[in-house]
């Protein structure tokens, strides 16, 4: 029969594998165990053996009707062995049955709100496409069937389009044993079909009883512009409550994300950018950003694609700080299209996010 210590030592090997697999292993700040056993010295050899982990992947699904919102079975996202865990990555998969020629950038019309108990992770609903970086050549994670023969990668089924997105958290978030990050989704409409949503958490179970003094909670806020007419000049601005740090602590900004979508009102297509016709990003949509102190973050109106480069749709700003109770204001100048489209058919919309993390005391 194994003693508790032997069982823990045996599990350490599994934990080491998990550490390698999970990649980032920023240490927790270890405090005292609830039963009062001293645990404040991470380098203490006696304590080091308790710091071990096991990989875990949790997933839950739901189906959203057009213009509706809903949640998932939160129990499926709770650690089944009743231990605390760290989440390193949140993954989204959006599926829709559709004709094979349909362009369907679902990540821009499906929003997600995340809460860790009473601690908000997002400022309301965030378009799923702008949580993380676009995964390089596949132009942002869209795997739409036959959507654009110039750039679309192979698809698993000709009758189903699948959009996949990943948000690698800037720092792992500690989830206490009795807690769960609860997601709520919204289908923004435009497409009349149902959209299947799968959310997954990848991370590691913490098998010891160590408990951090503070945790690093991810944060995301977004501004989605109005839908502009494709051809005519127009403008729009965010308001103070959208890209805001409403907390009393600073937010460490990991990145600004930016995506553009076009809406074909006749065929109910949603095009994604950058694509082979990135006229909106380089010519039509121009962005200016300033913070609540008046500092110019994007000084003059700049082409959208110069602020959010095409490859990643992201402007990485590791180390930037968003002050407590501060906000960003985005101004968009929509220029008339140099290559006009059918005037009754197309609209264009921009979405911008601020993604980062903040410290929260437990």
């Amino acid at each position: 029969m194994l003693t508790r210590r032997e069982a823990i030592v045996g599990a350490t090997a599994v934990g080491a594998t998990a550490v390698a697999a999970c990649g980032r292993t920023e240490p927790l700040e270890y405090g005292s165990e609830p039963d009062g056993v001293a645990a404040s010295a991470p380098e203490d050899e006696e304590m080091a053996q308790y710091r071990h982990t096991s990989p875990i992947h949790l997933t839950a699904t739901t189906t959203l009707a057009s213009n509706s919102s809903g949640g998932v079975n939160a129990i499926a996202l709770k650690n089944p062995i009743g231990r605390p865990m760290e989440i390193h990555e949140i993954k989204f998969q959006l599926t829709m049955e559709e004709p094979s020629t349909r362009l369907a950038f679902k990540g821009i019309i499906v929003g997600c709100k995340l809460d860790l108990g009473k601690i908000p992770i997002t400022n309301g609903f965030i378009p799923i496409a702008i949580f993380g970086k676009g995964p390089m050549a596949d132009l942002g994670g869209e795997f739409s069937s036959g959507s654009d023969t110039t750039v679309a990668p192979p698809v698993p089924s000709p009758a189903t389009s699948v959009d996949e997105y990943s948000w690698k958290l800037p720092r792992p978030v500690y989830i206490p044993a009795d807690a769960v990050i609860i997601p709520t989704f919204v289908h923004g409409g435009f497409i009349q079909r149902d959209i299947g949503v799968r959310i997954s958490y990848s991370g590691r179970t913490i098998l010891s009883n160590e408990r951090p003094k503070k945790i690093f909670v991810p944060f995301a806020a977004a501004y989605v512009s109005k839908t502009f007419d494709f051809n005519t000049a127009d403008s729009d601005s965010s308001v103070e409550t959208q890209l805001i740090n409403k907390f009393d602590t600073s937010i460490h900004i990991q990145r600004f994300g930016g995506r553009i979508a076009t809406f074909d009102n006749v065929n109910q297509d949603i095009g994604y950018y950058p694509s082979a016709q990135d006229l909106p990003g380089l010519q039509m949509i121009n962005v200016r950003i300033r913070d609540s102190f008046g500092r110019p973050i994007v000084q003059n109106f700049a082409p959208f694609r110069q602020v959010f480069p095409a490859v990643t749709s992201s402007w990485e700003t590791d180390g930037a700080i968003m002050d407590p109770k501060s906000y960003y204001i985005v101004d968009i100048r929509k220029d008339a299209a140099l290559a006009p489209q059918d005037p009754d058919e197309f609209g264009v919309q921009a979405a911008i996010s601020v993604v980062g993390w903040r410290e929260v005391a437990l």
Partner: protein, 287 residues
């Protein structure tokens, strides 16, 4: 006060063939005349002529960067470096997007060291477009991404200046050899090389069509240092030396003053234009 990020960008401006364009420096500098740090330089271009082939203007659109009298780009071709040769490729596709609405592309150069821009100074950019034969208006833009200095931040005594120099093979020749003015450290201080980049462009159709060719298997390359020591000992395809997905190879070494890298190309098809650039930084005293 916290550190705040910024992007300064010039608008998309028309540049005609065989001409140069200087973006408005007031848009590319700190309007508060305070020092700042630049982390990244971004280039973008667009041409609304409909093209059937995947065009890439990363060869014909070139840029010269300077901070006051301090050059960030090499001395050949008046300091103009093709905008595709500043940074490695992250993905081929966004660099050469063409379709019925035109040709769109962008490149980004994550500087090897953040560039400190003193108060009242501006990183100046100047574009040049070769006589590439492209029809229609070509529009270009440059942007800088970085961060404002903090009020309590002590200013540096030295500035690490990023540097790019490029050797461009003469189109039509089957053999090419870089000269003592190519890929050289012309400064009186050490040049810390970060990486070497290589791309091959295909110039065809009477000089009209240009597109990137990242998987050139016809050309062969050989590289030696100033003293004849082998860097790449035998002639091999560039993709054997430079990761084809990045078009680059990491090469952390130091070039002493006047030292250089010798590049030889052979078996170059008549329509191919291979290039090699050297990216690094040097330390300049700031007074």
């Amino acid at each position: 006060m916290s550190y705040a990020p910024f992007v300064f960008s010039s608008p998309m401006q028309v540049i005609a063939a065989n001409t140069s364009l200087i973006p408005d420096v007031t848009l590319l500098g700190n309007r508060f005349r305070k020092p700042l740090w630049i982390d990244e330089v971004r280039f973008a271009y667009m041409n609304l002529e409909s093209e059937a082939a995947p065009f890439n203007m990363g060869l014909s659109v070139r840029c010269k960067l300077s901070l006051g009298r301090v050059a960030l780009t090499g001395s050949r071709d008046n300091g103009f470096v093709p905008i595709s040769m500043f940074g490695p490729s992250i993905s081929v596709v966004p660099e050469e997007l063409s379709g019925p609405d035109g040709t769109f592309g962008s490149f980004r150069w994550r500087l090897p060291k953040p560039l400190f821009v003193p108060a009242n100074d501006t990183l100046r950019a100047q574009f040049f477009r070769t006589a590439d034969g492209f029809p229609g208006d070509v529009r270009v833009s440059v942007a800088y991404a970085g961060r404002y200095t903090k009020p309590e931040e002590s200013l540096p005594n030295t500035i690490d200046i990023p540097y790019v120099d490029t050797f461009i093979h003469s189109t039509g020749s089957t053999f090419g050899l870089s000269s003592e003015r190519d890929l050289v450290n012309p400064f009186p201080v050490d040049l810390n090389v970060q990486r070497l980049i290589s791309r091959t462009f295909l110039v065809s159709g009477a000089g009209i069509s240009i597109f990137g060719l990242p998987f050139d298997i016809a050309t062969e390359i050989l590289i030696k240092d100033s003293y004849g020591h082998n860097v790449v000992r035998d002639f091999v395809a560039p993709r054997r030396v430079f990761d084809p997905t990045r078009s680059a190879t990491t090469a952390p070494f130091v070039l002493k003053p006047n030292e250089r890298i010798n590049v030889q190309f052979r078996s170059v098809p008549a329509t191919y234009t291979p290039m090699v650039s050297m990216v690094g930084w040097r330390r300049e005293v700031y007074r």
